[in-house]
């Protein structure tokens, strides 16, 4: 019997090592797939080890759960790349659901005999789990456009939200002191469930990368808390790794949005959409046709393409790939400048462009590409707005002042593919559009890029 226990612990030990290697190998695209295999093997070992557990007397429901989970998981693993942000949010919800349910069960199995430390981590587990569950469902709903994407704000929103959280913490403290008051436990779950909803209500699309990262971090921390409850080192470590990953991404995203991290931690984002007073007098812009754009692009020697969420919405990535091919064939040096918060989750643009078969060494981060813009002939912006707004650098009164941007305005010619002159997410006007060197290309991103590609190939054949 003791031997079995040791075997189980040994599988957990190997799984832990494999999990860490898995993340380590993810550091470069060359070794990344090995990382997935390491994770899979570790997971398989840990589950098989657990099934040997001698306390297990009935396998029926375990088998049903594993089969049903696989049936749901396979289609979730096969969603289209454009749906990856909502899939990710949904998986945070599932992870949090698992943790919350296990925490709830553990409480009712143990109460009233729960030590103060145990009750503290148990409370942390279910509070974080519950708010991550509803918060992630809301985020997934917004990303899937099942829910209105417009941020909904009202006066005193932060006070209401923080108040809710304070009540939940108050109940947790009461339960730590008096674990026999089991009737309080459901309230301690319901309030964070509500908080999760309230937290996401004021969030607009452009804040999604930050929010998803933050929910990622919460999901990890709640799993680590569950590790303390179950006294499982494996779970503590997996939770800590996930929590650290989410935290790093959240910090990255908040830096890229020029938000303070405390601002993000308390979910007080999405508050800055001050509608810029009315429509100002229409300023003149220069627009160009696909033929003109194709002419300029074809004559350039260095082009940087800056994609944004608009490219994803228009599903233009494959046309962009054709443009990349057409220009590369003519000897034009084409690179992509990726802002950290372009899209709806960290790394979103990279995945879409990789899906369209664009080599990853052409995808450059903001800090790596910014030095190139002064030597760039054409910066072509496809469906991005605020991340290219020079007001963030120059205009102290701008709501996005201080946000790091892609310095596209330093290129010799700037082209912006845009549906209309409507302001971007934050309702902030972009002075870039009124510069003399800027050409506005009005139209649907996919069609417009398609027309440019036709012009380019037509000119040669």
């Amino acid at each position: 019997m003791i031997a079995t226990e040791h075997v189980i612990e040994f599988t957990y030990l190997i799984a832990t090592a494999l999990f860490i290697l898995s993340l380590k190998w993810l550091s470069s695209p060359a070794t990344a797939r090995r990382g997935v295999w390491a994770g899979e093997i570790g997971m398989f070992l840990a589950i098989v080890g657990t099934l040997l557990h001698r306390g297990i007397i009935d396998y029926k429901w375990i088998a049903i759960g594993l089969v049903l989970g696989t049936v749901i998981g396979v289609p979730l693993g096969k969603v289209a790349m454009t749906a990856v942000p909502q899939r990710t949010a949904l998986s945070h919800a599932f992870g949090a659901l698992c943790v919350t349910l296990v925490g709830t069960t553990e409480f009712y199995l143990r109460a009233p005999d729960v030590s103060p430390f145990m009750m503290s981590v148990l409370s942390l587990e279910v509070i974080l789990g519950a708010l991550t569950f509803t918060g992630s469902l809301m985020a997934a709903g917004k990303l899937q456009e099942l829910l209105p994407q417009r941020p909904i704000t009202y006066k005193g929103q932060n006070i209401v939200n923080l108040g809710l959280l304070a009540v939940a913490v108050g109940i947790a403290v009461t339960l730590v002191l008096h674990p026999d008051r089991t009737h309080l436990f459901p309230v301690m779950i319901l309030i964070p469930l509500l908080f999760g909803v309230m937290m996401i209500i004021p969030i607009g699309g452009a804040d999604m990368p930050t929010v998803i990262s933050l929910l990622n971090s919460y999901a990890g921390l709640s799993a680590a808390a569950m590790g303390f409850v179950l006294e499982s080192k494996l779970l503590i470590i997996a939770g800590a790794l996930d929590g650290a990953s989410g935290l790093i991404l959240s910090v990255n995203m908040s830096k890229a949005m020029n938000r303070s991290f405390t601002n993000v931690l308390f979910g007080a984002f999405g508050q800055e959409q001050v509608a810029v007073a009315g429509a100002k007098e229409a300023r003149p812009v220069r627009s160009a046709s696909p033929e003109e754009a194709a002419g300029i692009l074809g004559a350039a020697s260095k082009v940087v393409i800056v994609p944004g969420y608009g490219m994803a919405v228009a599903q233009a990535q494959h046309k962009v790939r054709e443009l990349y091919d057409a220009l590369t064939k003519r000897g034009v040096d084409v690179k992509f400048g990726i802002h950290p918060v372009a899209g709806r989750m960290p790394g979103h643009m990279n995945v879409l462009l990789a899906e369209a078969d664009i080599p990853y060494d052409k995808l450059l981060e903001m800090d790596d590409i910014n030095g190139d813009f002064p030597q760039t002939d054409v910066a072509l912006i496809i469906g991005a707005n605020d991340v290219t707004n020079p007001a963030a650098r120059e205009d102290q009164s701008s709501p996005i002042f201080g946000m790091p941007i892609l310095d596209v305005d330093k290129a010799r010619t700037v082209m912006v593919i845009k549906r209309s002159m409507a302001a971007g997410f934050a309702g902030i006007d972009n002075p870039l559009y009124y510069m003399d060197k800027t050409l506005m290309l009005f139209g649907d991103a996919k069609n417009f890029v398609g027309s440019i590609v036709r012009e380019l190939s037509g000119g040669h054949n």
């Binding site: 612990e9 429901w61 979730l76 790794l241 790093i248 990726i338």
Partner: protein, 98 residues
């Protein structure tokens, strides 16, 4: 396995440090797969749910535990699948066309 809370805190702290150091090195290129991979690894919480259901200490444990297994398993299967699909797409430029 018995474990006192202090040991747990040490394990947590060390894992957090390793996590920060390892994940800091992940290229922003791969931040989306990073999130889906850590999400799949995080679903190791399934082991807790499995024991809960297997021990069958109460009806509540069986019902909630089974739902928990379903949720975590779908994350494991879906998370690994989509991470691998994404990583397969990342190709370096060059004449090699697999």
């Amino acid at each position: 396995m018995k474990m006192d809370f202090l040991t747990g805190l040490y394990v947590f702290m060390l894992a957090a440090f390793i996590g920060f150091e390892v994940i800091r090195r992940v290229s922003p290129l791969l931040h989306t797969p990073l999130m889906s991979l850590t999400n799949a690894l995080d679903a190791i919480a399934v082991v807790g749910a499995i024991i809960l259901v297997g021990e069958g200490k109460s009806r509540l444990a069986t019902i909630l535990g089974t739902i928990a297994i379903v949720a975590a398993t779908s994350n494991i299967v879906g998370g690994f699948l989509i991470t691998d699909r994404m990583l397969k797409m990342f190709k370096a430029s060059g004449p090699r066309k697999p």
